[in-house]
């Protein structure tokens, strides 16, 4: 059993990640590589991806850091409210963000008409704005959690020594966040560059690498060019991964408990509150526009209430596809949570090479963009019986989203003393009972978070699944691209809302469950 488990896990990674990727790379020939590299379309897309990606990353990080600092280090009111609002964009597909922007600032956008604006949202500006909305919450929660864990003692010392607050931020907070800023920068850049949802919807004539790959592989079935582009899109994620591995977090002193900083009211609180309110409005506005659009007779010209668009969306199969998505999300969550728990448990509790290999394999999926993995699955599993079923979509989701929940669980398990198992061994309690009766109850909170992570992402992803999904049955999120292509914007809005509501319901359920678990 001890040997069987790591061997089985390695085989799953081989089948679920390495074999599909290898088949992707094997499609690349020197000729196809040279052809892609020399095409003006490629160099144009590369420049667009890098420039919009860099600008969006810098803006998203600046906003996220300011927002996280505002909620962690000041005494403004409504912190819980802002935390929830800032997290809402994580519950909808990336394409919906740009969709919301179009609804507000597009040719017939509400704000465009209201203020007679002369802005062209289609193109680089739209890609940057949509990408910022898409990436902001991810960076925000990273900064929140790191700031939350910061030791307050140096700040107390600085205060006693008379160091001004602005210098405390420059000399203490920023150096403390340096590592996080670097690794988040690469992670967010990679996330933006590999996403095709935002640029597909709002990019106009500004072509990015991800959209080029989508057009080639999905629309034109040109897997050879798609493979070259897929390989290139792995590079930023690989850099993000290496930045993290080569720049490991320093070990915290476990003998000293961190001092929490007391939140103190200051004159700047009003400015900070205003910033949070404006940011919340910017986040809520596109989502609110979906709602209006879904129920308005002819947005933005005839705003009278109607259920026509909802009914049309249902007639075109939204409910069936919603059920498909629920099945995919539930299977991905159950299988993904169980598998990532098992591997995190093994890698934290076992010693030696096997544990190290399992850990490395578990964090590697972080480096693979969904669109590359999805195309790899198309090539590798094309003749397999699982191809064209919902189960392959669940499988690709499990592998694609595996690393983050794995790291969540590993982090939790590392905090549980291995002496618990040692005591079990000495007392003659079989390990499976220690896991069932002691470990699982201790990690239930994290299990809920992992489940929610898999569910929400499986519900809204359009990256890997876009290549794999058969015409029917397909996941709900893909109906947004379908409706967008058919210019049925109201139906695309209705689908976005349905995904948002489903994810919101799951989040509320999980939060309640977690509260109950804490109360116990």
């Amino acid at each position: 059993m001890k040997k069987f488990f790591p061997v089985a896990a390695i085989l799953i990674f081989v089948a679920g990640v390495f074999a599909p990727l290898s088949s992707l790379f094997m499609r690349i020939t020197p000729e196809s590589f040279a052809q892609v590299m020399s095409s003006p379309q490629f160099s144009n897309a590369l420049w667009n991806s890098i420039s919009t990606g860099l600008i969006a990353t810098i803006i998203a990080l600046t906003l996220a850091l300011t927002a996280a600092w505002s909620l962690e280090r000041t005494a403004i009111r409504g912190k819980n409210f802002f935390t929830v609002i800032f997290g809402v964009p994580m519950l909808i597909p990336s394409i919906s963000h740009s969709f919301g922007l179009v609804a507000l600032f597009g040719a017939n956008g509400w704000l465009t008409n209201l203020f007679a604006l002369d802005v062209n949202i289609y193109g680089a500006i739209g890609i940057v704005a949509g990408s910022v909305m898409y990436a902001f919450p991810v960076a925000f929660f990273i900064f929140m959690s790191v700031l939350h864990c910061e030791d307050g003692a140096p700040y107390l010392a600085a205060k006693v020594l008379g160091v001004p607050r602005s210098r405390q931020f420059l000399d203490l907070t920023l150096p403390y966040l340096k590592r996080t800023i670097i690794s988040t920068f690469f992670a967010i850049f990679s996330m933006i560059v590999t996403d095709y949802g935002v640029p597909l919807m709002i990019g106009g004539k500004t072509l990015t690498l991800s959209v080029l790959m989508y057009n080639k592989a999905v629309a034109m079935m040109d897997y050879s060019t798609g493979s070259v582009l897929g390989m290139i899109l792995i590079v930023p994620a690989l850099i993000a991964f290496l930045a993290d591995v080569l720049n490991p977090a320093p070990k915290q002193n476990d003998f000293a408990k961190n001092i929490r900083l007391a939140e103190k009211k200051s004159g700047a609180d009003k400015i900070i509150l205003a910033f949070c309110v404006i940011l919340s409005l910017l986040i809520v506005a596109p989502i609110a526009t979906f709602c209006v659009m879904t129920f308005a007779a002819k947005y933005p010209f005839d705003m009278s209430f109607t259920l026509y668009h909802v009914m049309r969306t249902i007639h075109r199969g939204a409910l069936d596809n919603w059920l498909n998505s629920l099945i995919i999300a539930l299977v991905s969550s159950i299988v993904g949570t169980s598998f990532s728990f098992a591997l995190a448990y093994f890698s934290t509790r076992a010693n030696g090479l096997a544990a190290k290999i399992i850990h490395l394999l578990s964090i590697l999926p972080m480096t693979i963009p969904g669109i590359a993995l999805g195309l790899g699955y198309v090539i590798f599993f094309h003749d397999a019986s699982i191809y064209g079923t919902l189960m392959i979509l669940a499988a690709v989701n499990v592998m694609h989203f595996f690393s983050s929940p794995y790291l969540m669980m590993r982090n939790t398990l590392e905090k549980i003393s291995a002496n618990v198992e040692a005591v079990g061994k000495v007392l003659g309690v079989p390990r499976r009972f220690i896991i069932r009766d002691v470990i699982l109850p201790k990690v239930r909170f994290t299990l809920c978070e992992m489940f929610a992570y898999f569910f929400v992402n499986a519900m809204m992803t359009i990256s890997a699944v876009s290549y794999l999904a058969p015409p029917a049955p397909k996941p709900l999120a893909l109906m947004i691209t379908q409706f967008e292509a058919q210019r049925l914007m109201e139906s695309a809005a209705a689908v976005s809302i349905l995904i948002l509501l489903t994810n919101l319901a799951l989040k509320i359920f999980m939060t309640r469950l977690q509260k109950k678990l804490i109360a116990r």
Binding site: A422, G424, K425, V426, L427, G428, V438
Partner: protein, 253 residues
């Protein structure tokens, strides 16, 4: 008086990568004895303890208990209990269940398990705390639960891995007294790992001084104080104890 050997370690060696942690360690513990392994941090005492109970395998050497070679026995078959510094309680279970939990895996009937757990809680003075959760207890009380849990399976040897290090001075003194009482009442052999000279000398029938994986001296506290085997024992044990004693004497005389 005829002393019976309870546990014997012969030529125990252990290395992690190129770091030799234990070098041919030999010692014997008598039945009903309170035996301490004393040494500074990193001297190999915890590694030795884990080898004795079977949580780690030695590279070389053998362990005998009651004359039987138990070197390859699983930890649960060695008839020993262990108490860790960080208690390692099952903190989702109440005090009673922590103590009774393992009994079900040894074929003990529910009634007997209940009786046994209550008896052990009474011994450690926690009978009225049975329904409390570990988080509701003080550090000293949590350590008592860990001791009761170890006692419940009636091991004839209990190993303690720096069990009092995380506790305040007054609780340490209380638990020290209780450990001696338990040892006298139940006759359990106790092997106690510590870096605290005073603790080792106050509790033990005999003390083994370990330095970088090598046994320096084994003897009663009196023997060690009157005839330290070498400079290390003189400095690490006697000089340290004398410094503590001198600093206290200023206030007592």
């Amino acid at each position: 008086m005829d002393v019976q050997l309870k546990l014997q370690a012969r030529e125990i060696s252990k290395a992690y990568d190129n770091n030799q942690v234990l070098r041919r360690v030999n010692f014997a513990v008598h039945d009903g004895e309170f035996f301490s392994i004393l040494g500074s941090s990193g001297c190999g005492k915890t590694t030795l303890l884990q080898i004795l109970i079977g949580l780690l395998d030695a590279d070389d050497g053998q362990i005998f208990k009651d004359g039987i070679d138990i070197t390859t026995f699983e930890p649960a078959r060695r008839g020993m209990g262990i108490v860790f510094q960080n208690y390692a309680l099952f903190d989702n279970m109440n005090v009673f269940r922590n103590v009774s939990y393992a009994l079900q895996f040894h074929g003990v009937e529910t009634d007997s398990a209940t009786r046994k757990a209550n008896q052990m809680l009474e011994i450690v003075g926690l009978k009225n705390f049975a329904s409390k959760m570990p988080a509701e207890l003080s550090g000293g009380q949590q350590q008592r639960v860990a001791i009761a849990r170890a006692l419940a399976l009636e091991p004839d040897i209990i190993l303690f891995d720096e069990p009092l290090s995380a506790l305040d001075a007054s609780t340490r003194l209380d638990i020290r007294r209780e450990l001696k009482n338990i040892q006298r009442t139940l006759g359990t052999t106790m092997i106690y790992v510590t870096h605290d000279q005073e603790e080792a000398f106050a509790l033990s029938d005999r003390v083994m001084i370990l330095e970088r994986g090598i046994v320096n001296q084994i003897g009663s506290p009196e023997e060690i104080i009157t005839a330290p085997a070498n400079d290390y024992v003189q400095t690490f044990v006697i000089d340290n104890l004398r410094t503590k004693f001198d600093s206290l004497r200023k206030f007592l005389t």
